[in-house]
């Protein structure tokens, strides 16, 4: 795994996402030092995710507009119907391109663009889900020197997605939700 300090975090989740994210994100402190970008597969707009997590989290929870600058201490949820990408230079870019693996937003699209922008400083986390979105993106993160963690498929609500990512990433580790939270807190505490 990368020895670089973590500069940014990307998270992908599908079936069972709300429960899994609820076990992780509310534990992060208000002065958390990293930005976190999250893609959750949601069937249709509008998404109540931002409202839901804003009420639970100490960190700022944002559904970003296009070209918004990425700030430490904020959690960015991909808007429903848009892919969320990271521009080199650290701003959000949205795209209405066709769905990838039937999903828009797509985890792969976020992970690949963030890997290009953050390189070894990126931490990617693949949580519960019943499809294979995120596996390709996780591989791209590893290729660029970043690190990948997945929710332990043995205990995940839906094992397919973390298992697919694990299969594509030689250095990825599978952790429980508790251990993932601890890891995140350590990586981004001031």
């Amino acid at each position: 795994m990368s020895a670089e300090p973590v500069a940014a975090v990307v998270i992908g989740a599908s079936a069972g996402a709300v429960q899994a994210l609820s076990d992780i994100l509310p534990r992060l402190p208000a002065d958390y030092s990293l930005p976190i970008m999250v893609v959750v597969h949601v069937p249709t707009a509008p998404s109540g995710l931002t409202t839901l997590f804003a009420a639970k989290c100490a960190m700022a929870v944002v559904e970003p507009d296009d070209k918004e600058m990425i700030a430490p201490g904020s959690i960015y949820f991909a808007p429903p119907g848009y892919h969320l990408l990271v521009e080199p230079g650290g701003s959000i870019a949205l795209s209405a391109d066709e769905p990838v693996l039937y999903s828009r937003p797509s985890i792969d699209v976020l992970f690949e663009s963030a890997a290009d922008s953050f390189g070894p400083g990126l931490l990617g986390i693949v949580l519960t889900g019943a499809n294979e979105d995120g596996a390709r993106g996780a591989a791209a993160i590893e290729q660029r020197g970043g690190r990948v963690l997945v929710e332990d498929p043995a205990t995940a609500y839906a094992a397919t997605m973390p298992a697919a990512a694990l299969a594509r990433c030689s250095a990825a580790r599978a952790l429980s939700l508790d251990a993932l939270s601890d890891y995140l807190i350590r990586a981004g505490s001031r």
Binding site: D66, L85, S117
Partner: protein
């Protein structure tokens, strides 16, 4: 040797490819947002079977047939009729009452792609009794997309979504009143485009061509970098009459634009802006 890490070869190749596209064919994508264009180019490279962007560039420089293919990867967007129904509802209920006071109207739909939004506006204006005094300018840089827009023909399997959106947007007619079906396709009524001028226009390199009361440009500028967004918004500002309207995509904003001061929020939640008086 410098310790600064070299720019990745792929990024260098992309710059060169876009430069070649501009120098050879005058399509200027050099100020498109990097992350999206990289994704689209990777898709084109993989699906067209090139090993590298350099190989693609060679083909592009020496074969004109390659331009259209590449343009489709770089420009064509997936849209729907009445996409974001709330936007069209706000247009109908909040903006049209103002536009109704003009004896004749000009509307510019910038980056119209396959024309879904053009027909959406035409149907809404027809329902509101405004179509026959409105001129719609529908522009795009992709000639193939403009051709599809002009034909007004869409696969039948898309009609269910269009119909649902139209109803949610406050449609006063049945969408089926406006098309006939043949061979698995829906053919939209010719009279919807009697007042439409389809035209090649680039927000990157072209200038203002008309004065209008409404510009709708949705999910086009999200593919631009900030300086290019400023250029495009500048064109809209110069094109709009005082108190004219500008509609953007649901996650687009003028907040970061150098022209933000030239506009005020009109329907904030639907990203409809009004040109200021000054």
């Amino acid at each position: 040797m410098s310790h600064t890490p070299a720019e990745p070869v792929e990024d260098i190749e992309i710059k060169l490819l876009l430069e070649a596209l501009y120098l050879r064919y005058h399509f200027d994508f050099r100020h498109y947002a990097k992350a999206s264009i990289k994704r689209r180019l990777r898709q084109a490279r993989d699906q067209l079977g090139f090993a590298t962007f350099s190989a693609m560039q060679e083909k592009l420089l020496h074969s004109e047939a390659m331009v259209g293919t590449l343009l489709d990867y770089l420009t064509v967007q997936v849209s729907e009729m009445f996409r974001d129904p709330g936007y069209f509802k706000a247009m109908r209920e909040r903006v049209l009452p103002h536009l109704r006071t003009y004896p004749s109207l000009k509307i510019w739909i910038a980056g119209c792609s396959h024309g879904e939004e053009v027909y959406s506006f035409a149907i809404m204006l027809l329902e509101e009794g405004l179509l026959d005094r409105t001129m719609i300018y529908a522009t795009d840089i992709n000639p193939g997309a403009l051709e599809i827009a002009r034909s007004g023909v869409y696969p039948l399997d898309r009609i269910a979504a269009f119909t649902r959106n139209h109803q949610q947007a406050g449609g006063k007619t049945s969408l089926a009143d406006h098309y006939t079906t043949a061979y698995g396709r829906a053919v939209f009524d010719k009279k919807l485009r009697a007042q439409v001028v389809f035209s090649d226009h680039s927000l990157v390199t072209d200038e203002v061509f008309t004065e209008c009361q409404l510009v709708s440009c949705r999910n086009v500028m999200i593919y631009f970098d900030r300086p290019l967004q400023d250029r495009a918004v500048g064109l809209f500002r110069d094109s709009l009459t005082r108190r004219g309207f500008l509609g953007l995509g649901s996650k687009e904003t003028l907040r970061f634009s150098e022209h933000a001061g030239a506009f005020t929020d009109f329907v904030r939640e639907e990203k409809i802006y009004q040109r200021s008086e000054a």
